[in-house]
């Protein structure tokens, strides 16, 4: 069978199966097995087992349940409520202060957990009603939760970054560190946008009249100490080479458990729910990963990676054009397809090409993740929008949420362009980390 036919069969088969609503894990695994049989007969099937075992045995992937459980614990332990109270007391007279505060909380959550859901769901429950009550415009109130909520997948620790690093064959630690600069840049841009909107159109973001004494403000700061300690335990230990990302995950879980205990929220129910929920989400991710690794192993063995890179490099396009085209494809897919699926379908093809073109794969990884962020918020199928809708108070329609997201999407695009033009925004930290390690 020619490689062209294999390519059509594998990717066409995968897309058709996905559209039929077959679970992603079975689409990937089933298609791999069928193509494997067609190409090499029953003897080729051991490839499937080897690759599955390879994933089971990976110590890097162990980071996934660890960061997952951190997020679930934090979300359920009411840490966000405490943080929100602090933000509320400090934001006082500032126009759009609460919305800006939400961005800050999203960043803190992003740096403590590996997913975007934790920040979005809790902010949707606490901050959204609070903002609407104080007369914030719907577009600012909704957008400032859905947009910055996506920072969870960019700012380390991030599950998406771990998967992308493994599929793209770059270091998880480096990709984590490369997410910090862009994360800060994007959150700055979000805050600036809210500030500008509030300045142009004061009705959209009122300042609120409640006044707090200096003492009340200072006391409220104690809620920030523990999140910072957690972030330091996780990211600090990776940055200074004290622990691998996986070990850092375990330190993070321990730190979160201590935090929960200090906040007196440590209950049997919390532990039980966290245990089951972590198990379920980790299992989902891992079974997709097994299928995906089999899929890319079969495709690589059939000569697919070489074929694809020859095909694309053979077009003779400018390397920046190729890069932008790849970004465009992943953005378009992101509008309809789950980010996990995009990583497993596109990344094994894109990363080798990017390396051949002489771009830094870590930098490309960050651009890819920002693309996934956009996928999370772009209608019609953005997870963030669904999360937010699921917790939004009555009277908020899906249309309101869709409309609110576009300016924030614009901010993401500006941020991505800046990182494309100035790669050092992403790369200075990982380079500094490598220097420190020498």
């Amino acid at each position: 069978m020619s490689i062209e036919l294999v390519t059509v069969l594998m990717f066409g088969g995968l897309i058709v199966c996905l559209l039929l609503g077959i679970p992603l894990a079975w689409c990937l695994g089933g298609v791999s097995v069928i193509v494997c049989l067609l190409l090499w007969g029953p003897n080729g099937l051991m490839l499937i087992v080897y690759n599955t075992f390879g994933c089971m045995w990976s110590i890097v992937l162990v980071a996934i349940p660890l960061f997952m459980s951190m997020g679930i614990l934090l979300q359920r332990a009411g840490i966000a409520e405490a943080l929100f109270e602090t933000i509320h007391r400090w934001s006082g007279r500032l126009r759009g202060g609460i919305a800006m505060g939400v961005v800050v909380i999203c960043v803190l959550f992003a740096a403590m957990t590996g997913v975007s859901a934790a920040a979005t769901l809790t902010m949707g429950l606490i901050a959204l009603p609070a903002m609407l009550k104080r007369g914030y415009g719907k577009s600012i109130a909704l957008g400032s939760i859905a947009g910055p909520g996506t920072l969870g997948i960019l700012i380390p620790p991030s599950i998406i970054s771990i998967l992308l690093a493994i599929v793209g064959n770059v270091s998880v630690g480096k990709l984590f560190m490369a997410g910090i600069g862009p994360g800060i840049l994007l959150s700055g841009l979000f805050i600036a946008y809210i500030g500008i909107r509030g300045w142009i159109n004061p009705q959209l973001c009122p300042s609120h009249p409640e006044k707090f004494t200096v003492k009340e403000k200072i006391v409220s700061l104690k809620t920030v100490i523990l999140p910072f300690a957690i972030i330091l335990a996780v990211l600090g230990s990776i940055f200074f080479g004290i622990a691998t990302p996986t070990e850092a995950g375990s330190l993070g879980v321990a730190a979160v458990l201590i935090t929960v205990a200090i906040h007196r929220r440590f209950t049997k129910k919390l532990i039980q729910e966290t245990t089951y929920e972590t198990f379920r989400i980790t299992g989902l991710t891992m079974w997709i990963f097994y299928g995906a690794m089999c899929f890319s192993a079969v495709y690589a063995r059939a000569g697919g990676a070489v074929f694809m890179s020859d095909l694309i490099l053979g077009l003779g396009m400018n390397r920046w054009m190729i890069l932008i085209t790849m970004m465009g494809i992943s953005f378009l897919l992101g509008m309809f397809v789950d980010p996990f699926a995009i990583i497993f379908i596109l990344a094994p093809i894109c990363f080798p090409i990017v390396k051949k073109l002489g771009f830094d794969p870590v930098w490309f990884g960050i651009l890819f993740v920002i693309n996934m962020q956009m996928g999370y918020v772009t209608p019609p199928f953005g997870y963030q929008l669904f999360y937010l809708k699921s917790v939004a108070p009555e009277g908020i329609t899906t249309g309101d949420i869709y409309k609110s997201i576009f300016p924030f999407l614009g901010v993401l695009i500006i941020g991505m362009a800046l990182i494309m033009i100035f790669p050092q925004i992403a790369l200075w930290l990982p380079e500094l980390m490598m220097k420190l390690a020498d």
Partner: protein, 168 residues
């Protein structure tokens, strides 16, 4: 038949609930490793291998638990628009892909595990702890998930034929 399906559901549910607690020993082992390395200046040679074993079992047993709640990640843009009967038929087609994949894991995984058991295969660390029990998890986990998916298949066939949900 109903009782039989209930038993399968029960196995998936309880194996899941029990094995989900492996998370905490996994965390404890890793934290211990970091403390041993920096505080006692004595890194262990077993902690990482232990973690890999714990989580290999953790992920693999999870399959049946997820199939029970039918919460595998799908793209339901089109699927959501169909009636229960068409959905059931699509699920039956999905079973074929599932079975191609996990059936291979059961069958070839058994051979893989068998060779490992016969050689009492150790891992490649200086510790040389046994690896074969972990390889045995592949066919065992595959068997559990196949049982659960068969139970789901039976219910789907019922819906596809009668158009009514299966009574529990």
């Amino acid at each position: 038949m109903k009782r039989f399906l209930k038993i399968i559901d029960g196995i998936s549910d309880w194996s899941g609930r029990i094995f989900s607690y492996l998370l905490w020993p996994g965390v404890a082992v890793l934290v211990y490793e970091v403390i041993a390395r920096y505080v006692f200046n004595a890194p262990t040679i077993w902690a990482h291998g232990m973690t890999q074993r714990i989580f290999a079992v953790y992920y693999f047993i999870c399959g049946a638990y997820i199939s029970l709640s039918r919460s595998h990640i799908t793209m339901d843009i089109i699927y959501e628009r169909f009636g229960p009967r068409t959905k059931a038929i699509l699920d039956i087609i999905g079973f074929l892909f599932f079975f191609a994949f996990v059936g291979v894991l059961l069958w070839y995984g058994s051979r893989y595990a068998w060779v490992s058991i016969m050689n009492l295969e150790p891992d490649n660390t200086p510790f040389r702890a046994p690896l074969y029990p972990i390889k045995l998890i592949i066919p065992l986990g595959a068997l559990l998930i196949i049982l659960q998916e068969l139970a789901n298949l039976f219910r789907n066939i019922h819906v596809a034929i009668t158009g009514k949900p299966y009574e529990h």
